[in-house]
């Protein structure tokens, strides 16, 4: 094996303890890739862990992390509380990514590239769009979903009613009650509060305005077998991010890049060549 694996713990400013796998090649570097998973995924599931392993083999120091939105419902805080994707708020990603970067700085890394998948891509763009860190030198967005309210009500006939239901639940004091809600074509679980926060009428997860503010080159990838709105959104994000940014298409790949990992990693590796290891 050409890299070592270390399971690391990092703490956020609001005292969440999160975990990640730090994959370090033999060659030293001050550049670290930070991999951010999608809804209810985690640091050890594909595609992020697989991408991290393959890029570590190519000499990139890779930190594949949990956000507090890992798994649908997980133990949080002192392990007696409830967290996970069902409970997280979109803005929590700032504390989570701050925690990950602070940890990496203690290990001697000074430059960072955020690589997000699905909701992790949205989080990465929102993070850098709001924080505008000079030490983040690039963002790679893999399959950012166009899932904000005004878009979803056009595509999903029942979505308007689901948001209305969540609003009623919050108004009636049941913000923490769990709702069964589809995410794309698959079932999901959210508290009413989280469902409104992530997908509500304020369109806060439309990351195009944030893409304008990232201040670094951005690569947006989408899979050829994904619905057209993934490609539209990738192109829109790239247009917003401006000069030096790029859209790439991975032929035949689904949302999780199953069986298309080598092609996807090659696309990312080619993009990374502009940043000295």
């Amino acid at each position: 094996m050409s890299y070592t694996t270390e399971i690391c713990t990092f703490r956020t400013s609001d005292h969440e303890r999160l975990h990640g796998a730090l994959l370090t090649p033999k060659e030293k570097s001050d550049l670290a890739l930070i991999f951010v998973h999608g809804v209810a995924m985690n640091f050890y599931l594909p595609p992020m862990f697989t991408f991290g392993q393959d890029l570590a083999t190519r000499g990139y120091h890779s930190f594949v992390i949990n956000t507090r939105g890992h798994d649908w419902i997980s133990r949080a805080g002192n392990l007696t509380k409830f967290g996970g994707s069902a409970y997280e708020m979109l803005e929590d990603c700032v504390a989570d990514l701050d925690g990950a970067i602070d940890f990496l700085k203690t290990r001697g890394y000074h430059r960072f590239i955020l690589i997000g998948h699905s909701l992790g891509a949205i989080k990465s763009i929102i993070y850098q769009g709001t924080q505008q860190r000079r030490d983040i030198v690039s963002i790679v967005s893999c399959s950012a979903p166009k899932q904000f309210y005004s878009e979803r009500v056009e595509r999903q006939p029942v979505f308007r009613e689901l948001i209305a239901q969540a609003e009623r639940m919050v108004d009636e004091g049941s913000a923490e009650a769990l709702m069964s809600v589809n995410v794309g074509a698959t079932p999901g679980i959210f508290t009413a509060r989280t469902h409104l926060n992530k997908y509500g009428k304020d369109d806060r997860n439309d990351c195009r305005p944030h893409a304008k503010n990232v201040g670094c080159p951005l690569l947006a990838i989408a899979g050829g077998a994904e619905p057209p709105f993934f490609h539209e959104y990738a192109k829109e994000i790239v247009a917003a991010a401006g000069a030096g940014s790029k859209y790439e298409y991975v032929g035949g790949a689904n949302h999780f890049y199953n069986r298309h990992t080598p092609q996807t990693v090659s696309v990312i590796a080619a993009w990374l060549e502009q940043f000295p290891k």
């Binding site: 985690n42 050890y44 599931l45 649908w72 133990r75 392990l79 079932p187």
Partner: protein
């Protein structure tokens, strides 16, 4: 660093893909591996097992700290569009999880195994070996096995019989997959009604004292001195059921997760391993 860490996956006979961390001493080969199994809604990277594994590996033991399908409360299962986790798992599922983890270790060349469980992971480990009686399982270590079968909980927890009756009623009304909030080891937990009855129902299948009596291998039961009194009591009962090849140890002042007492537990396990797995 004296140990190497690998993140491995393994697949069960019913096509669940599970994960674990294999901690191996760099310069000490062995045919013996410790299989370490978490408690309710925990996972392979949370303490105490994620602490015990590397610490024991530093002492020369090969340790595989795994997820069962009961990891976290609700996780992505199957093809990642299904739901599982502690909220949904059934006791009988754990047999498949253990079979698959041990098969993965066998692929890597290990031939002898010691099951190390924490909390619900003890119940599962004792049930597994008590049922399977595998010759290649040469020891079981249970860390804070909970006395959580129906009659014990009914005697200890005021609202337990009422919550169980609610779960039974939900199943009878075709709502067995719906959520039920209930206490587990003193804290609030989330179960489907079906899982709650499966794990804690009147059948008392999770009373592992009968299993402890037919392991066919040595058993070390550990409990924390600061845990609810039924943990040390149960450790003593499990050791008694195991007869001459079983023992129990109490870690003074320790809570259920062995916070601040990890090194004591590691030393207890390491000393026991010298006796049983030379």
């Amino acid at each position: 660093m004296k140990i190497e860490t690998q993140l491995l996956s393994f697949r069960t006979s019913d096509n669940e893909t599970l994960h674990g961390l294999l901690f191996t001493p760099r310069e000490q080969k062995s045919d013996l591996a410790l299989l370490m199994v978490h408690g309710v809604a925990m996972n392979f990277y949370l303490p105490p097992l994620a602490t015990f594994g590397p610490a024991l590996a530093e002492q020369g033991h090969h340790c595989f700290v795994i997820n069962t399908r009961g990891h976290d409360w609700i996780n992505r299962a199957g093809d990642l569009t299904g739901f599982c986790g502690a909220t949904y798992e059934k006791f009988e599922d754990s047999t498949k999880d253990y079979d698959a983890a041990l098969a993965r270790l066998s692929q890597l060349g290990y031939r002898r195994f010691i099951l190390v469980g924490h909390s619900l992971g003890c119940v599962k480990s004792l049930m597994y070996q008590g049922t399977r009686q595998r010759k290649d399982v040469v020891g079981v270590v249970s860390c804070s096995c909970p006395k959580q079968f129906y009659s014990a909980r009914a005697a200890d927890q005021a609202d337990f019989t009422e919550v169980m009756a609610q779960a039974e009623s939900m199943i009878a009304n075709g709502k067995g997959k719906e959520f039920l909030w209930a206490k587990a080891s003193g804290a609030l937990a989330l179960f489907s009604a079906e899982t709650y009855v499966n794990k804690y129902g009147k059948h008392e299948q999770n009373d592992v004292r009968p299993h402890a009596g037919r392991l066919g291998c040595p058993h070390l039961a550990i409990a924390g001195g600061a845990e609810h009194k039924y943990f040390p009591e149960y450790a003593a009962e499990l050791a008694k059921a195991g007869g001459a090849s079983a023992a129990f140890k109490i870690v003074p002042g320790s809570d259920h997760f062995y916070h601040g007492h990890e090194s004591e537990v590691v030393e207890i396990i390491a000393a026991w391993l010298k006796q049983v797995a030379a």
